[in-house]
């Protein structure tokens, strides 16, 4: 029977406040949400089917483009699966480079999330700060791989680019800067009353519900579930590295914030260890074009949680079946639970707090070819300088502020 006190609000799939198409049908009683129905699939691009019609190496690049933020997660997860079926022994140096890129990706993803969370609660200064700091890690990723996103570092059998001693120094310097900044954010999260008050008790997901609804990653760990594929089912070089699995028993958005901040600190430590321990040697082994029949389940701890790929091979150069379960699909059912009996105004931060995988686009791909000096090729640094000059002409100069910041950290 129709309840006269209840209002139904459709939200999406196209809505100015949504970064990606998804549709929520929210039932409201007053300002409180009574139930939420979520419809996904607007981004379904048939990648699994497309993989069956392409070769393994083509698939690797296609898989990398499932997501702009966890691109390395998907490509590593897929490469691991194919390597396991083909019986390839990935060189230790390649495993370390994969780990290094994986942790740098986690750093960029968590800093991005922190900014989005700040934005959703009206704390845009936090967005500006974290996204500026995120540029440090983006520059490092661009230096190591050539790209800011969709790094293309993986290949079947290893990685495509080596890391030089100079690059190692740059990475270590960046870790020092980011660690200082993250300490400041931790201080902010633990001492700034408005932030803690806004996030505490919002989007509650109890330990039992998190287990029942199959939550993964920081969402699960913030509800006291101590699981992390990096430790439980080690891949790449994680078995040789020392790190803690960060958990919290807050069970709310505040807990999710603390977990991600703690994971940032762990990531800096993992990156330092990887740089220190990385062995010498080759970075890839030759992979066969045809892969023998077999099936494999590959798991990977993406920034958003467990990523699972199932690959089945049939002896040809194309896979029989590729199945991808990205972490957001595992977390989406928890969102309905988190929103139950909550205020409508909490919805943006609750949805953002699972860190749904937003498509992320690159601003520019700078292809620098020293042999061919074309006019249209602009280096990243030149673009940045141009931006600074442009703002100066508008009367906005950040130089004194930047100096002040550098003296602080």
């Amino acid at each position: 029977m129709h309840d006269p006190g209840e209002v139904k609000i459709p939200f999406g799939p196209q809505h100015p406040a949504l970064k990606e198409p998804e549709s929520f049908l929210i039932s409201l009683r007053g300002e409180k949400i009574t139930s939420t129905s979520i419809k996904l699939g607007y981004n379904h691009r048939g990648i699994e089917k497309a993989c069956e019609e392409r070769t393994y190496i083509q698939d690797l690049y296609l898989i990398e483009r499932i997501c702009g933020i966890c691109s390395h997660s998907h490509s590593t997860c897929f490469a691991q699966a194919v390597e396991e079926i083909a019986g390839l022994e990935v060189p230790a140096r390649a495993r370390y480079i994969r780990t290094l890129i994986a942790e740098l990706e986690r750093i960029h993803s968590h800093l991005l999330w922190l900014g989005v969370a700040g934005h959703e609660i009206g704390f845009d200064t936090l967005l500006m700060y974290t996204w500026r700091d995120r540029e440090v890690v983006m520059d490092i990723l661009a230096m190591l791989t050539g790209n800011r996103v969709n790094y293309g570092i993986n290949t079947i059998g290893g990685v495509r680019r080596d890391i030089s001693p100079e690059q190692k120094e740059e990475v270590l310097k960046a870790m020092d800067i980011l660690e200082e900044r993250t300490k400041y954010y931790i201080e902010l999260a633990t001492q700034e009353v408005t932030l803690a008050k806004r996030l505490s008790g919002v989007g509650i997901l109890s330990n039992e519900d998190a287990k029942r609804l199959g939550a993964v990653g920081p969402v699960a760990r913030a509800s006291g579930i101590e699981r992390d594929v990096r430790r439980d089912d080690p891949y790449a070089a994680y078995a040789q590295l020392d790190f803690k699995v960060i958990t919290s028993n807050e069970c709310d958005v505040y807990g999710r914030t603390l977990v991600r901040l703690g994971e940032l600190m762990e990531s800096y430590s993992i990156v330092r260890q990887a740089i220190q321990k990385i062995p010498d040697g080759v970075i890839s082994v030759k992979a066969p074009r045809k892969v023998p029949a077999g099936e494999v389940v590959s798991r990977y701890e993406a920034p958003r949680g467990e990523d699972l790929h199932y690959v089945s091979a049939n002896g040809t150069d194309k896979p029989e079946r590729v199945k991808v379960r990205a972490p957001t699909l595992a977390n989406i059912q928890s969102v309905s639970k988190m929103l139950e009996n909550r205020y409508l105004a909490d919805m943006p931060i609750v949805v953002a707090a699972i860190d749904p995988c937003f498509s992320c686009t690159d601003r520019l791909i700078a292809v620098n070819d020293p042999e061919r000096k074309t006019k249209n090729t602009v280096a990243w640094e030149a673009i940045r300088l141009k931006g600074i000059e442009w703002y100066k002409r508008q009367g906005i100069d950040f130089t004194p502020l930047n100096k002040k910041l550098k003296s602080l950290i």
């Binding site: 129905s37 419809k39 996904l40 699939g41 379904h44 048939g46 699994e48 089917k49 396991e84 287990k211 029942r212 609804l213 199959g214 699981r227 594929v229 430790r231 439980d232 089912d233 099936e295 494999v296 389940v297 798991r299 467990e306 699972l308 199932y310 089945s312 079946r321 199945k323 379960r325 699909l329 595992a330 989406i332 059912q333």
Partner: protein, 158 residues
């Protein structure tokens, strides 16, 4: 004895038909092939008595002669038990596991939409991941499914 061997032994001891059907593929990866009529009891036992308290995903397969569904179960410690159940070509059908794992709902909708495997007992809800107006009898992940010719493009080429 390793954790994986213990799991294999427990499964084979409890269910005689799993002998030679349970394979430890590598550390932390166990695969077991099951006939459809035995699936429910093995699944219930693994979920209730063996501590497999997480369902990571359900993979649907088109094996040309039939279909298959793989249930990827996980538990603390990182061991993954993959229960593979074979289904017939005509009217492939499984029962829902949402009673054990409510999180299975999206995974089950996915195999229903993309492979046309009927999931009995699945609660009513919107389909996933295909659009609402997608024809009910078209299952794109089936091996014999080909996209309909793009009429617009053909008209342009003509």
């Amino acid at each position: 004895m390793t954790e994986e061997e213990k799991i294999k032994q427990e499964l084979e001891g409890k269910f005689a038909y799993l002998k030679d059907k349970t394979v430890i593929k590598r550390e932390k990866r166990i695969f077991a092939d099951l006939p459809l009529d035995k699936f429910a009891e093995v699944f219930a036992y693994a979920a209730k008595n063996m501590g497999f308290d997480g369902l990571s995903a359900i993979t649907g397969l088109d094996t040309v002669s039939g279909f298959a569904a793989i249930y990827h179960l996980n538990r603390k410690g990182g061991v993954m038990l993959n229960l593979k159940v074979s289904l017939e070509r005509e009217h492939p059908r499984v029962n829902t596991v949402t009673a054990y794992f409510p999180c299975a709902e999206n995974y089950e909708r996915e195999i229903a939409d993309l492979l046309g495997i009927e999931v009995a007992g699945l609660p009513a809800g919107r389909r996933y991941p295909l659009p609402d107006n997608w024809p009910k009898d078209q299952h794109p992940l089936r091996k014999d499914w080909k996209p309909a010719p793009d009429n617009k493009r053909e008209a342009q080429n003509a």
